[in-house]
Symmetry: D2
Subunit: 333 residues, 4 copies
């Protein structure tokens, strides 16, 4: 059920409605929209009786039963697009954002050089892995807290924001200290335990689509976070696993407008992991923004050939610059 209050409903009327709903055994989730308060109702109870009771309550504009398995991230509930402000950078507005940086943090020199050139092309969000989810236990697993410190230091110097991946709830307090945006990786989209922990945090989260998750499962993963109380969610399309092998994954371009229609959340495209190759980055980045994406994430490295992981898909300075300059011709940056 979603209850829309009249624009001029008083706080008393709102409180009264919430109270009535709770009497029916439901939980209440209210949100202050631009014009009015909207109340989301969840739980199990006698829907019909509750609806009847609420419809006639003072201050109520409408009360509708929703059959959607999604509750809060949907557009009907939010009524307007969610913009996520991060210390002066806004995600989900009319300018596209760029999140760039190396796959993993390797050294102070490397991350400083990387950050400088992300900044030099106008990027305001620095990405870098401190904890890496590697398929093999024998691959490089990341520098941990040292990497976080380096990221924060460099970002502060250059007035950038930091995004980094969280692999487990245990690391959350540590990462929360250093990062501006927490990232849930593709392999953890179905890790509901982690999603619940992140729901309790009050920092923006970038949630990557599982490489074999349907769009509906992706939205439900966002619901897990939202349901915990964290409403600052950025969705990230990063390709799905198919039979095609020319690209590492198949970028699901249609997911972009569908996510923007069904939810109120900003949508970012990770072009590096979608493609796994650099030679088609320009047209695909262009296509992503054309489809409605609010920004791009890509891996960049001062010297990709020397990178410790995923070196083939990391853009060097020249390539990063060319990409941004190309996109600026068509979209606001």
């Amino acid at each position: 059920m979603i209850i829309s209050m009249k624009p001029d409903a008083t706080q008393d009327q709102i409180d009264h409605v919430c109270e009535r709903i709770r009497e029916f055994g439901y939980k209440v989730h209210s949100i202050q929209g631009e014009e009015r308060v909207v109340i989301g109702v969840i739980g199990v109870g006698d829907v019909t009786a509750c609806l009847e009771a609420i419809e006639v309550a003072p201050g109520v504009a409408s009360a509708v039963r929703i059959s959607s398995p999604f509750k809060f991230v949907i557009k009907e509930f939010k009524q307007q697009r969610t913009q996520i402000p991060i210390n002066g950078v806004s995600i989900g507005g009319d300018q596209f954002v760029v999140m760039a940086g190396p796959c993993s943090v390797e050294s102070e020199k490397q991350i400083m050089e990387a950050a400088e050139f992300v900044a030099s092309v106008g990027g305001k969000i620095l990405r870098g892995g401190a904890f890496k989810p590697r398929t093999s236990p024998y691959s490089f697993q990341g520098l941990g807290e040292d990497a976080l410190k380096l990221l924060k230091e460099v970002a502060t110097t250059l007035d950038m924001r930091v995004i980094t991946e969280v692999l487990s709830s245990e690391d959350l307090p540590l990462i929360e200290k250093y990062a501006d945006i927490l990232q849930v990786g593709t392999r953890n989209m179905f890790n509901y335990s982690l999603l619940k922990s992140i729901g309790k945090i009050r920092k923006p989260v970038l949630l990557k689509r599982g490489f074999m998750a349907t769009i509906d499962e992706f939205i439900l993963a966002a619901e897990y976070i939202y349901n915990g109380g964290n409403e600052q969610i950025i969705l990230c399309e990063r390709g799905i696993r198919t039979f095609e092998t020319q690209t590492r994954n198949t970028l699901d371009i249609s997911a972009i407008p569908i996510l923007k229609m069904e939810t109120s959340l900003p949508v970012i495209v990770d072009i590096s992991h979608s493609l796994g190759r650099k030679d088609i980055v320009l047209p695909i980045a262009h296509a992503s923004l054309a489809a409605g994406a609010d920004g791009l994430m890509f891996e960049s490295h001062f010297n990709p050939a020397a990178a410790w992981s995923d070196s083939q898909q990391q853009l060097d300075l020249k390539e990063s610059e060319d990409l941004i300059r190309y996109l600026e011709k068509y979209f606001k940056f």
Copy 2:
């Protein structure tokens, strides 16, 4: 092997090279490029000896062994993009083309109305099914020659070109009589027998990607047609089968720049069959052109609700118009 002749090579020199190649047991396929003649060599023989002999022949600029399984549709061979002129309409140039019309031809009134509004939005190519490849033998199978006649008649009246699908070699002589572009549907991309027959025709062919075909298999299907002597091939990306169910197929947006990098052929996107829904047509059409597509194919119907097949994905007049007007803001039409 691909042999590039010098720009000033004489016809005698070219003939001599071809002769020498044939002496090694190979077949020869030469092409007059803008600046020079390029000679493709296929078959089984002593590559090393042949290369050695040819490299030093008069008029030869370079002779390279190619390991690619593709021979003729590749860019290295053609050296320039293929443009396909169809009675004044050019596919593969700097303007995007639109191929629109109903899924299947149902009546004179229906096809005339459909054609009129395709023409009214500036579309020059009329699509319409005369023979339909339906999954169930009990579904409507198309009107056959009657449909072809109607298409031709209407197109002539409105100065449009006709594209229609070929289901079997037996129908080729009939369809060739009426259509300006022959279409090979997604279910027949692996029908090598049909591809060979079409290779012998001298009319443009639009080859749809099999919904289960890799990009490499798609290019090899084009090779089948090219190898028969028909060089006027238009590739059409139309989505692949994946686990995602929000769209009928998953549009492989990356296929567009890859096909344009690896082959010289124009690439069209069938947005109706990729998506199977209309509400995201605008951003996806925009994305397709942004990725480099040379045109769009979509289903349109005067009264989609009354269409005999695939009614949910057919655009009505207003929607078609909105689409074209929206795209014109960004690309040349």
Copy 3:
């Protein structure tokens, strides 16, 4: 609609029912089961009125509306499993059959040696490609009629039956002359034009599942053949395309019992093309028969290393023998 007549219904009663159905504009397809006549009704008409009229006709046991898109290959219609007798070999009975032989016919010596060892392990059906559907136009395309003659000759000498693939309707008269079973390959399962042509033939057909076809699409392809009047259809599961790369395709083991529940047709498993490797043939062949398959198809070659195509997956004499001896321990051969 499916009409079951009473076991003691007279021919006059049956004729009367068929006539009434036709008056309603339907086509009639009757079948003599073991105990009773069953009448299938197809076409478009007033179902309710027709049902009402037929239900009360003399001799009618029951008349039911069926919503299934499948009509004739389904179990409800046939009421008993279809057995396909081929000159003394029965497919679909209580013994499993083996169809073996080389991928393609290369020479008289090769096919005779291959046939001899298929016969030596008890195989009664010889497979061999005369026309090969190769992904690249530059790969070996088969010996054509010469191959057919060799197959027939060798099979006659050794009292075996021949199965070979049909690539196009044009080749049908030729292939019909030599083969005992016609094969529709995986790339042609969606080639409805070919399926219709084969529906007119009166020889058994082995229909391979498209490597990206759902089970429902597979059954509908069988309907195309059945609808043409050819009821001797053998279904062949041969793996589907997925993201897994350890096997060439992913054998859909569940398809076997589903096909046997939903249709009356025998089901064969092509283990060579499912797996693309030989080292797990034993357990997978065992599993296939355990799941209910009526037989196995596999590629065998006197000297696999020297084969002209698909050499890695062809079983040699010893491996073929081991396979059959192993399976005989569990199932009747």
Copy 4:
């Protein structure tokens, strides 16, 4: 590198070899096989120099470089199949095991009834969810510790072992207290943080294949657990996500023999989640054991229609009994 010591190598010789390897900067992982000690070497170092030094060391039978990304779970290393004894029940021997019980624990009455009938058909391992990984945050999430207590209590009464799923490292101490086998679910196979935590536990683990994981990724996930020191790993094939919709997932039957060839670990098949339907359980269970599975897991419920989750795929008492009696005809139970 894998070093095989001679059968009569002394402890001193073994220690010496380990020491030398460590001098080259590697980590050592030695295992006492039935006949000899085998030493696994991991890390980064000068392989060639190390090999040369070790090959000539006293007591060394052979030293080989392995290129496989898998190190410890592979057969070459273990040299014999791993059997996992769990209080008198052995997994991976010549008898197949059955793990059955309800999807989630709902009440004492329900779990007691369920356990009694699992025991009555000869099942010795009781499964039941205490913490449920539900796609929607609004679905029933499990009873938690209460469920664990009920499981343990009931299992003790009936002399059964308990298997239950772990969703997060935080729950490990709790679950370890009650369960005999820890289960990692399909959604957590890529949750490397959880895999590492479980590697530190000294209880058997059943690792389910991710529904989107290749066989290689699955084996690497097992490596994560093994690398932590927990060698008691049971692999569980449970179907992969494909385009086919007749079954909930597509059981990858070929994975069974491949996993048994490449690793030394026992392999179990979860038929309930593979299929999502009950009508083909008999043939598919038969096929799974025929392909080499060491046991089956399935959901069973006293009254499936009343179950709180996944009710359609749970077997009732009669169906469970029929299944076991049917399989006993072919395999040792």
